[in-house]
Amino acid sequence: MSLAWTAIRFGTLLVYLFMFAPVAVVMLLSFNANQFGSFPMEGLSLRWFVALIENDAIVRAFQTSLVLGALTSVISTTMGVLAALAMVRYDFPGKRLISTALIAPILVPEVVLAVALLLFLRALDVPRSFFLLLMGHVIFTLPFVVLVVQARLVGIRRDYEEAALSLGANAFQTFREITLPLMLPAVLAGMLFSFTISFDDITGTLFWKPGGVETVPTQIFAMLRNSISPEINALGTVMVVFTVALPLLGAALARRVSARMTTGR
């Protein structure tokens, strides 16, 4: 291996360290027995995780985030999958414009999206509420679902559907027996993606959330105002484990389900 490659390799290592070291430190410090949660570490302890469970505000924030993420993912994946099907399977006039419209919510800065939605719904006498939060998360996650599902759908060949149709299945049977099993991994990917984005969001959420309601990210943000405590690190660790382990688990599950459905039960 040449000198240049060695340098590039070393550079890559440094960049990856830069990306992961700070979060690794958060996770490491959350097991710190030291009462100020700082360096040097004084042994391992789970006390900060116990403190999390005993903190009502944090437990409530977790519940809010879970419910919000689950609802967001169901609604936005349903809409996103239908839209992606139309984009991949049909040709129609104005397709380019529609494609831009579907990803418009991520082309607009999230702050502007947040302000527009907040003020518009206020003008309609819808105050800051869980409903507003949900609508915000749905519109913000929709483009990601469309992009992810669309990318996977392109890879599914039409031949299977046409074969089923020519063998006498009607359109609904074809969808249920052929298209749906084939696109299930894409649907699951869309659901996971939108759940995680909703679960992690803070930029829009700080605008939309009603007073007294916190999600996990806004709870962390509020706690940061005081000082960095080991409790925040523990909460961060729980969140990282949650949002990283879940997609990995989901990907494994999706592979197994689609394998079973395509090889015949």
């Binding site: 390799r9 890559t12 958060v26 100020f36 919510p105 082309l107 302000v115 003020l119 990283v244 997609p247």
Partner: protein, 293 residues
């Protein structure tokens, strides 16, 4: 009947039925609200705190002429530009390595690259407090090594805002450059080498120009995301490091001056959209969608 069969008979309703829930949502939750804040920005805030329906240019005059807003706007563009350039310079190295290196770890490196997208922005931002804060890792090591006697406050300045932004934006940049590099026909560099180019010349004359679409897509994403944030300056910046989105947050959430907040957010939207439009005029927006494949 195949999907295209009904095209001959005229209008095919099926794609529009499939699209309607998503399009109605985009219309009701984005397009109409965006038009609404355009109207709102011409209204006024009265002394009693109520909104006065009128047509006034006062908000716009204030936003466009007050040097306070102008300075913060320039500061925002500067911070976003420095962060984007840093991301491009730093991000090219791993992107090149993943695309070309004779390594068995390509898949692992790509999976790792996706991980930061799953870790919340707020956690990645606040993690720097554990590194650079008064009781953070760097101070801890320096105290232990006897380099300093008292912890130094390294946080809450423009450098840490840029650092936080680069940390947040880097994966977007690496991914876009990688997608571009991965699509380059390998025989082109081989041809350049066989015609007598050195490795560096082949990179400069062939690989680098062909990766410009990825660099540009990554830069656009980084700049737009960077210029639109208010979380990083709030967590890692000092009082003087506010960015434009912080003004919007102040106006809307703290001062409840919604007409002014509308004008401020529209100005931000106009600036960033102009950038997106110029970009898509020359390079097409599809490049960004490629990194989802």
């Amino acid at each position: 009947m195949s999907a295209s069969g009904s095209l001959a008979t005229g209008f095919d309703r099926r794609p529009w039925l499939l699209l309607s829930p998503a399009l109605v949502s985009v219309a009701l939750l984005l397009v109409v609200p965006a038009m609404f804040i355009v109207v709102y920005s011409f209204w006024l805030r009265t002394a009693t705190g109520a909104d006065q329906v009128t047509f006034s240019l006062d908000n716009w005059r204030e936003v466009l002429t007050d040097p306070f807003y102008r300075d913060i706007l320039i500061q925002t563009l500067r911070i976003a530009a420095i962060s984007t350039i840093t991301c491009a310079l730093v991000g090219y190295i791993p992107a090149y390595y993943i695309a070309y290196a004779p390594t068995r770890h390509k898949t692992l490196l790509l999976v790792l690259l996706m991980l930061p997208f799953w870790v919340s922005y707020i956690i990645r931002t606040m993690s720097w407090i554990n590194i650079l804060g008064v009781s953070g890792a760097v101070n801890g090591v320096m105290l232990w090594a006897g380099i300093i006697d008292e912890p130094i406050q390294m946080l809450y300045n423009e450098v840490t805002v840029v650092l936080g932004l680069v940390h947040f934006l880097l994966p977007f940049m690496i991914l876009n450059i990688y997608v571009s590099l991965d699509g380059i026909d390998r025989s082109l560099t081989d041809a350049a080498r066989s015609l007598g180019c050195t490795g560096w010349q082949a990179f400069r004359e062939v690989t680098l120009p062909l990766s410009v679409p990825g660099l540009a897509a990554g830069s656009l994403l980084c700049f737009v995301l960077g210029a639109g944030t208010y979380i990083t300056p709030m967590v890692l910046g000092g009082p003087g490091d506010a960015m434009f989105a912080n003004l919007v947050f102040e106006a809307i959430v703290t001062q409840l001056d919604w007409p002014l907040g509308s004008a401020l957010s529209l100005l931000l939207l106009a600036l960033l959209s102009a950038l997106v439009l110029v970009y898509s005029r020359f390079l097409g927006i599809d490049q960004i969608a490629k990194s989802f494949r």
